[in-house]
């Protein structure tokens, strides 16, 4: 077995500690998922509301392991040319013209077509996109972000790549990863991702953290924010999430809010300040109205 990522992580608790060192507080389930993925070389599939720390987990893993994070943001219409590799066509044409000109100048007989073709489909004319880069550069952390936004054709294509950690390029041959990259796949569940993909991963549903954990996360991310403010923000978030809002705020919003309040130089959350900065937490007008109408900021 080649060099492992995070060799110090002999059990999930050790991995959680390593992640905490880089400022990511993983709950037990996520630590177990990360640990198993490290040891068994399976991708982690993270699903959950926006802003609960799915993407941040991949970044923290990369930082903790000291390897590069390669991110592929998915969107509708994403295809192999943008995700995997593409040929650098303008350079190929230029090369072709240059060879022709050189051959004419040298006048030592035409270049054979085979040579020329082998020349054109050389590695230097290949543009590596995130997936190929991850295969070539491994060890690294490959983040396939918001896979639910890509079409389902793309999932099928991903399956092939994740199964053997290798890419076959017809003109070049097979490029295999020296060591499988640590793969994190995230989804916001805007559509159901195909079961075939999830089956090959460790599936983890990332829920909202408890108020205590959330306060701890705010403290870790924003050391300048007072203990008291972090606690109050976390408590307010817990109340918001019980209000059945259109878009329940995630941890990312809690951190934004605490940062906004910190920037205003306060260390307690008063009702007026909360109302004034509510835009950092709630991004749907109906939600803001609802929170204000129900007086959910009252004891905040």
């Amino acid at each position: 077995m080649p060099a492992n990522y995070l060799p110090g992580s002999t059990d999930p608790a050790a991995l959680a500690v390593a992640l905490a060192d880089v400022g990511y507080l993983a709950d037990q389930g996520l630590a177990v998922a990360g640990f198993l993925a490290l040891r068994l070389h399976r991708p982690v599939f993270l699903e959950g509301d926006a802003g609960v720390g799915k993407t941040a987990f991949a970044a923290a893993m990369a930082e903790a392991a000291g390897v590069e994070l390669i991110r592929l943001q998915c969107y509708e219409g994403l295809d192999a040319a943008q995700a995997l590799y593409d040929w650098d066509f303008p350079r190929q044409v230029l090369h072709l013209r240059a060879v022709e000109a050189a051959a004419r100048a040298a006048a030592d007989g035409p270049v054979t077509a085979d040579d020329l073709e082998a020349d054109l489909y050389d590695r230097r004319f290949l543009l590596a996109r995130p997936l190929l880069r991850a295969i070539e550069q491994a060890p690294c952390v490959l983040l396939i972000d918001e896979v639910d936004r890509a079409d389902d054709e793309f999932e099928a294509f991903l399956l092939e790549l994740l199964a053997d950690n290798a890419v076959t390029i017809p003109e070049l041959g097979r490029i295999a990863a020296a060591e499988p990259p640590f793969v994190v796949v995230t989804s916001n569940r805007t559509r159901e991702v195909h079961d075939a993909l999830k089956r090959r991963c460790f599936y983890h549903w990332v829920g909202h953290p408890s108020p205590e954990r959330e306060a701890a996360i705010i403290k870790v991310r924003l050391p300048e924010v007072s203990e008291r403010l972090a606690g109050q923000v976390a408590a307010a978030m817990a109340r918001f999430r019980e209000l059945d809002l259109v878009k329940p705020p995630g941890v990312a919003e809690a951190i934004d809010w605490a940062a906004a309040l910190g920037a205003l130089g306060t260390d307690t959350l008063s009702e007026e300040l909360a109302a004034a900065t509510l835009g950092a937490v709630l991004k749907v007008r109906e939600d803001i109205d609802r929170v204000l109408a129900l007086g959910a900021l009252d004891d905040g």
Binding site: D195, H204, P248
Partner: protein, 361 residues
């Protein structure tokens, strides 16, 4: 130990967790690495595939772990709140709710009162003709939207990749420009069927229509029923045999012919699925007479929200066909400013007009 694990797998399967063989193998391998004290998480990470599965797994694990004497209840409140309502989780209390919602029209929703159907053989000639006509109409419904992927086309913007490929094949000589266009993608169709007492004369036909449309494009059609609560019935409607599909759907609906809480159920739809993706860029068709007992304002707000998400919101009210009809019923008046089309849909001809609206989206 192996027996115990097999017991857990069995309990999970009974609870509806997709514990297939490869998933179970993955669980065993992971247990080797992580150790038995992580059994809860290892099982959850390997056997589950959706938040629903997680809730079912939790259920199975607690009942199973009764044997193991460490059974902390897991799962966050969020997961419990967002779980789709399933008939097997319906309690007696919810039935009470169903009938109290609208005492004037209430027909008690009992277990035995599932949808009763006649098969095509016992339909009258008129009904059979209508059913066949529905089938034909449904097959033509194919709303599309512009996709992000391209296909070769004879005009349109230049396709650089294909052009240069052709050029390379020709030894670098210029070739005619290749062109491309966006490939159309299917547009999702979301049907929201009001199955409360006041809509009961149409409910049977609506479910038939929904079945035709779901069978027509299973991946791109979603069906929910609205009564006192929201029920997603797409999975049961995917069954090929119409009688089986309708029977199972009838059993899956807990509030058949009960009252309506239209604003609440529409809002639930938005919170649960609509806002996060199901209604986005879709054609949303609501079949309802818009009969709302309480304040119509929340209903109007929900309709406006759907309108902002969807490509088109079509409201189908059987009363819209009546001569001298004006949308004055409390709920309907609140909804009308936000809909793209208000159509009748009470006869086959009217449904044809409705499906034309859908196709035009």
């Amino acid at each position: 130990m192996a027996d115990l694990l097999a017991g857990l797998v069995l309990a999970c399967r009974r609870a509806g967790v997709p514990a297939t063989l490869d998933r179970v193998q993955a669980m065993y391998r992971a247990l080797d690495v992580a150790g038995l004290d992580q059994l809860y998480w290892v099982g959850r990470l390997t056997l589950c595939g959706s938040p629903d599965d997680v809730a079912r797994y939790d259920q199975a694990f607690t009942s199973f772990a009764g044997l193991l004497d460490d059974a902390p209840a897991r799962g966050t409140p969020w997961q419990i709140r967002r779980l789709p309502e399933r008939s097997l989780l319906q309690t007696a209390q919810s039935r009470g709710e169903a009938s109290e919602g609208d005492p004037g029209l209430a027909v008690q929703a009992h277990d035995e009162e599932v949808l009763r159907h006649r098969d095509l053989a016992t339909l009258s000639d008129v009904e059979r003709r209508e059913a066949v006509a529905l089938l034909k109409l449904g097959a033509r419904v194919r709303p599309t939207r512009p996709g992000r992927r391209y296909r070769p086309w004879h005009r349109g913007p230049v396709d650089a990749r294909r052009t240069v490929r052709a050029m390379l094949r020709a030894g670098g000589e210029p070739r005619p420009l290749a062109r491309r266009r966006r490939k159309p993608r299917p547009r999702r169709l979301v049907l929201l069927l009001d199955i409360s007492g006041s809509m009961s004369p149409y409910a049977d036909a609506l479910l038939r229509l929904a079945h035709v449309l779901v069978r027509n494009r299973p991946r791109w059609t979603e069906v929910y029923t609205l009564g006192t609560r929201l029920t997603r019935v797409t999975p049961t409607l995917r069954v090929r045999d119409v009688e089986v599909a309708l029977r199972e759907t009838g059993q899956a609906i807990p509030d058949w012919r009960g009252g309506t809480r239209l604003a609440d159920t529409l809002t639930t739809f938005l919170r649960r699925d609509g806002h996060r993706g199901t209604a986005r860029r879709a054609v949303v068709v609501v079949f309802s007479d818009g009969w709302e007992r309480g304040d119509p304002a929340p209903l109007g707000a929900a309709a406006a929200h759907i309108r902002r998400l969807a490509a088109k919101l079509i409201w189908v009210s059987p009363h819209a066909a009546r001569a001298g009809f004006a949308p004055t019923a409390g709920g309907l008046a609140a909804v009308v400013p936000h809909v793209d089309a208000l159509v009748a849909g009470h006869t086959v001809a009217a449904i044809e007009a409705l499906l034309q609206e859908v196709n035009d989206a």
